[in-house]
């Protein structure tokens, strides 16, 4: 994306919305026509541009430039409202973040000074930051692997795991529809609810997880799930997978359903068994979907904010064992009043996200299979 272009356009939008439109719109009308609009007419046309059509004076309406003016007026008004909102709340904070990351701003007072790259060099020596980054990277690598593998397995079972009844090459297991509905449950309920529910599930005394183990006579396996620094991060990983497996089952089922049955038949005729069919036929044919899903899951795993913030002890504990970078950023910004430092963390997080996307792009396949 062109950075310079973006800035220019944002400025134009601001100019337009603050009423500096008169020359621009007039110039626009004039530039598109062979005969330029006389300067004396500009205010009239400009006001027609800014006001709703019903207030357009007949003098302008009957002008043959009106068609164009009408079109651009529509385009301008329809775009300006979403764009202004977008510029104020999304684009401007995004660029401000880069600037604030170079200051020692606390976030509490309005005065701050420019400190250059101090925040970044401090980050390099911040063990807590590196701990959070290690946890985030762990999730980034493992969560997509586990979730996509499970999603693929379940989707393949649902689509092609059934007994080949009624003379078919492939068929889903009985109740495939039911499984898809149930697996998708965690996707429709809020992450906040999921965090609270799983915190209760993992509770060592009143939680069902340990209770199940106790009833099964596996007392030795009961754990202080979220209080044990060696296990807590795995619990976060598990909940992340639990949330998203259903999404990928539905996603991959749809992609697998789009594969023509003839391909499976051909594979079966050639004597391919199910694992072979999966790895040689299904997986290559839905590779694009898997790839997109991988990027998406990676971004979700890099975030993991709500789960860690709600579910874990002390929002990232015990110790810093489940602290992920977004939670660390949040704590720095809103708890300890280091807004400048927090935005520097954000910039690094963005770099990691972009690096991840770039790596994933390198793995993307150039040619596509049409079927």
């Amino acid at each position: 994306m062109k950075r310079g272009g973006m800035k220019n356009d944002v400025r134009t939008v601001d100019e337009r919305s603050t009423g500096g439109t008169s020359e621009r719109s007039g110039a626009k009308g004039g530039a598109r026509r062979p005969d330029p609009l006389p300067i004396s007419q500009w205010p009239l046309f400009a006001s027609a541009f800014l006001l709703p059509p019903r207030f357009t004076p007949p003098r302008v309406k009957n002008d043959r430039r009106y068609r164009n003016l009408d079109k651009y007026r529509f385009v301008f008004w329809f775009l300006s409202i979403p764009l202004v909102l977008y510029a104020i709340f999304v684009i401007s904070p995004f660029f401000q973040a880069f600037y604030y990351s170079l200051t020692d701003w606390t976030g509490f007072s309005s005065d701050f000074s420019f400190v250059g790259l101090d925040n970044y060099s401090r980050l390099m020596d911040d063990p807590t930051f590196w701990q959070s980054m290690r946890n985030s990277l762990f999730l980034l690598v493992v969560a997509p692997l586990a979730t996509l593998a499970m999603g693929l397995f379940f989707a393949f079972m649902l689509q092609a795991g059934g007994r080949g009844k009624k003379n078919e090459a492939v068929s889903g297991v009985t109740g495939a529809k039911f499984y898809k509905i149930v697996y998708f449950f965690p996707q429709v309920i809020s992450v906040a609810i999921i965090g609270v529910v799983w915190a209760a599930m993992f509770d060592p005394i009143t939680g069902p997880l340990n209770e199940v183990l106790r009833v099964a006579g596996l007392d030795s396996l009961t754990q202080n799930w979220l209080a044990d620094p060696n296990i807590a991060l795995w619990c976060v990983l598990f909940v992340l997978c639990w949330m998203f497996v259903g999404f990928y089952v539905v996603l991959f089922s749809a992609a697998m359903g789009a594969i023509p049955k003839e391909i499976y038949e051909a594979a079966l005729l050639d004597g391919a068994r199910r694992p072979t069919t999966f790895f040689r036929v299904t997986l290559p044919l839905i590779r694009d979907t898997v790839h997109t899903g991988w990027i998406y899951m990676g971004i979700q795993a890099l975030d993991a904010f709500a789960i860690v913030h709600i579910m874990t002890i002390n929002k990232g504990g015990p110790g810093d064992s489940t602290l992920v970078t977004p939670v660390y950023l949040y704590k720095k910004a809103f708890d300890s009043g280091e807004a400048g430092y927090a935005t520097a963390i954000g910039v690094l997080l963005l770099l990691v996200t972009m690096a991840f996307s770039v790596v994933m792009m390198l793995f993307s396949r150039r040619e596509r299979i049409e079927y």
Partner: protein, 319 residues
Amino acid sequence: MSGEKHTMAATETTEPDTPEQADAQEAPTADPKGAGREQRGQEREGGVLNAFSGGILVVWAIMAAGPLVWVMVNSLRDSGDIQGNPFGWPTSLSLENFVNAWSEANIGQYTLNSVLILAGSLPGTMLLGSMAAYVIARYTFPGNKFVYLLFAGGMMFPIILAVVPLFFVLDNLALLDTRPGLILVYIAYSLPFTTFFMTSFFRTLPSGVAEAATIDGASHTRTFFQIMLPMAKPGLISIGIFNFLGQWNQYFLPLALNAEDPDRAVLTQGLAELSVAQGYEGDWGALFAGLSIAMVPILAVYMIFQRQVQQGLTAGAVK
């Protein structure tokens, strides 16, 4: 960033083949029971695999639904009973927990807050997103491609990076910790995907109807609201479900931008708060009742419209 789901490339979703549809197709070549074929080994392998995979499918179904069912059952039990034994059936049918959750734990207020926010942000998102998408998709003007990329690029960047400056932008506009502020932020952060999705949707619509309307003298605005928007209904439903769930389940933005006044907290904040408070008070019953209040309506609506919901949420990820 925490709650936002599924910002991916958008096109149409493909229908998953349901078993019924699959049944309709005939594939005579592959009858496992077909005589004279060397299918016996395969059949046996299939049997073992079926038992194994069937088992795993059931286990995961229990894993996915179990915690939710557990919460719902416990919401009907006495707090003391829950403390003693996490499993068990309600001894007497009492709605006391729900009354406690609704009034004392303020879940009613939080639900109302969420509804009020959504009442503004969801129509706003749909309207503004469609407006921008329509103009981008169907009008040529200088900067068209650029505006499109501006919105599409917004899907990539993380809210967490922008949240600190956003906090102060809202503060300066006196919108921090207010409903209008949160509504505007929800709209702004839903715009990229909504616009992106709707743009590709408007591009697929035939242009003939709009041209006919123009010839009949309909203004651009009227063509949009009375012709194109109704035609875009399937797309609007998908993206509407997507935005509804995304905004209703949003946790991060309200936490950062709406934390001042506990009475203004939205449902997700309230539940997280309740779970902390329950740690001190030990009122598990109210917590489970609150969770049930929050998830049962959503799950019910999902079960009724599961196909649309699944399509809406996976919208665009399938090419």
